[in-house]
């Protein structure tokens, strides 16, 4: 676990440098999902960076597409592309637009950014695995603000109807969105109950506890007759103390001084 903690720190430092090189960006929701991604990329997903289109690879759909920087940190660490690219985030001609684009970035499985759509795409992938009799798991990360989109619930109903045991969804439950707290704006209270009512196998964990995340995925993999939701209770901006749990961290300016301070705090 110590090695995984170091990898999570490294990913956070890459996210901070990436967004710092641009001077602004979606840093809060990128940092909140890092610990989930470290488990997926280093412990759980069946992938081969040298063969990114491998037919039976596990898929990851970042449905909360603005968290692209978090995904890119891991893709760079896994050498899907050269780490040097991180300083080109959102620069003209970049392979790293902050919202995920499967045609621009090696290792990205689905184009996302218009909230609510990625989960449906993940459902389509999970169904394809069954149609092709090619077993693989599909992981999907959705946001709690994103869950205000009706399409999330269309996808949720249908995944349950199809009994997609190979679909494992993480809800990045940091309880913040652009205009304030999810609870105040359009509450997603008791998400586990809601998803259970939709026919899903649900778990709730501390989304920054690496061991808990790993165990939750293991349990989800054993549940083959229903789709799986793991509610990851997270802190927006996790790892950069100054912005943790703040509304403004959704998308904010990040200066060179901020980067130095944030990186210092990670050490």
């Amino acid at each position: 676990m110590n090695e995984l903690k170091d990898l999570a720190k490294r990913a956070r430092s890459i996210v901070i440098e990436m967004i710092g090189s641009l001077g602004k960006g979606h840093i809060g929701g990128s940092l909140s999902i890092v610990d989930v991604l470290v488990i997926l990329y280093y412990e759980q997903m069946h992938i081969d960076p040298s063969n990114p289109r491998m037919k039976n690879r596990d898929r990851l759909v970042m449905s909360k597409g603005h968290a692209g920087p978090a995904l890119y940190a891991f893709l760079a660490m896994k050498e899907y592309f050269d780490l040097e690219n991180i300083t080109t985030l959102n620069q003209p001609g970049t392979i790293l637009p902050s919202h995920c684009d499967m045609n621009l970035t090696n290792g990205v499985d689905m184009t996302t950014g218009s909230l609510g759509q990625g989960l449906s795409a993940a459902v389509g992938m999970a169904i394809s695995s069954r149609v092709d009799k090619t077993p693989f798991n599909v992981y999907c990360v959705i946001g709690d603000g994103e869950s205000q989109e009706g399409q999330i619930w269309e996808a949720s109903m249908f995944a349950s109807q199809m009994k997609l045991g190979n679909l494992i969804v993480f809800l990045d439950h940091n309880n913040l969105q652009i205009d304030g707290s999810v609870e105040d704006i359009n509450s997603l209270s008791s998400p586990s109950e809601r998803w259970r009512a939709f026919g899903w196998n649900t778990q709730e964990i501390d989304g920054h506890d690496l061991q808990a995340i790993n165990e939750a995925v293991e349990r989800a993999k054993r549940c083959q007759d229903r789709p799986n939701l793991i509610v990851a209770k997270t802190i927006k901006g996790k790892g950069w103390k100054k912005i943790e749990g703040t509304v403004k961290s959704h998308s904010m300016p990040v200066t060179k001084e901020d980067v130095a301070e944030a990186l210092g705090g990670l050490k």
Binding site: T111, Q117, V123, I127, G150, F158
Partner: protein
């Protein structure tokens, strides 16, 4: 041969035949299986069909996810719900993602008849035209539809196929070869050009006959591919006939007429008249009533053509 067979049956039979050789083909419905007439496909390939229920946004994006895994989905819904209901899903998850999914818009425009304003989508082509990389096709008869389908599977991005699911008269011979993006000249002529697609061509051809009896020699183009538009055929029509009348089962804003007018205005201005649905909503009625009410019947095509030819002189 297909004069007595519904277009949807021809479509389904063609899919079944193709699916036998091409295991990538899957069929998705949104509680639209009865309407799309694809039940026989479901029976033939029960593992390659989905019915997501009444949820078009999910329908389109599930298809996108399947396409990322190499599938070739044919997706069905009523025309307006296939397009305006899930425009963003088509724009982002299909077009930006560059995924080859065929969206089948059933009963567009006046074909929705007594379902009225809610189901008479007159804007589907205009919406789809604004999406980069989108291909838009509308077949005239069963032969063209059958020849068209395999070509649609070879494209790098999404396709919008709008078509009439009922019985049509055969216009093309059995040995017809479909060429995407290349308009078919159904009738040569020098006095003006009539450009249309799908169900409107029956009335355009009738109008051309009436015009001929009045000494007006009308060229008729079947613009079966509305995007990408056959610019060469349109500009040749402008050069050679010096007047163009477009006829469409669609709003005059942004559809076939819009596409033709934009091109002709910029490249070789000649008089252009667009016949189609004016800036209004639909209403209940059968197709004959709606053609008359909306001004896209044979009589109005003839009158508009004569006015246009006179203006040219």
């Amino acid at each position: 041969m297909s004069d007595t067979i519904e277009m949807r049956q021809i479509f389904c039979d063609a899919l079944i035949a193709l699916a036998e050789k091409d295991e990538r083909i899957v069929v998705l419905n949104s509680d639209s299986r009865q309407i799309s007439g694809t039940k026989a496909f479901d029976d033939a390939y029960p593992d390659r069909t989905l019915n997501v229920g009444i949820a078009e946004a999910n329908l389109v994006t599930v298809a996108a996810g399947m396409a990322t895994c190499g599938k070739k989905p044919f997706v069905h819904a009523f025309g307006p719900f296939m397009t305006r209901r899930c425009f963003d899903q088509i724009f982002i998850s299909l077009a930006l993602a560059r995924l080859n999914v065929v969206l089948v818009g059933l009963s567009p425009g006046i074909m929705a008849e007594i379902n009225g304003a809610t189901h008479q989508g007159y804007e589907d082509v205009a919406l789809m035209r604004t999406i980069p990389g989108m291909t838009i096709v509308e077949p005239l008869d069963g032969i063209q539809l059958r020849k068209m389908i395999p070509v649609l599977l070879t494209l790098p991005g999404p396709v919008y196929l709008r078509y009439f699911r009922g019985v049509t008269k055969d216009v093309y011979p059995q040995n017809y070869e479909f060429c995407l993006g290349k308009a078919d000249v159904l009738r040569e002529g020098k006095d003006l050009s009539l450009i249309a697609s799908g169900i409107m061509l029956e009335f355009v051809l009738k109008a051309a006959n009436i015009l001929a009896s009045q000494g007006v020699d009308a060229r008729v183009l079947n613009m079966h591919t509305i995007k990408p538009l056959d610019q060469e055929a349109v500009l040749r029509a402008a050069h050679e006939t010096k007047a163009i009348l477009t006829v469409e089962n669609h709003t005059v804003i942004g559809g076939l007429g819009g596409a033709v007018a934009e091109l002709v205005c910029e490249e070789y201005p000649v008089p252009v008249k667009r016949l189609g649905i004016m800036d209004r909503f639909g209403e209940v009625g059968n197709m004959a009533y709606l053609r008359k009410t909306m001004g896209i019947d044979t009589e109005n095509i003839v009158d508009s053509a004569l006015t246009l030819v006179r203006a040219k002189q």
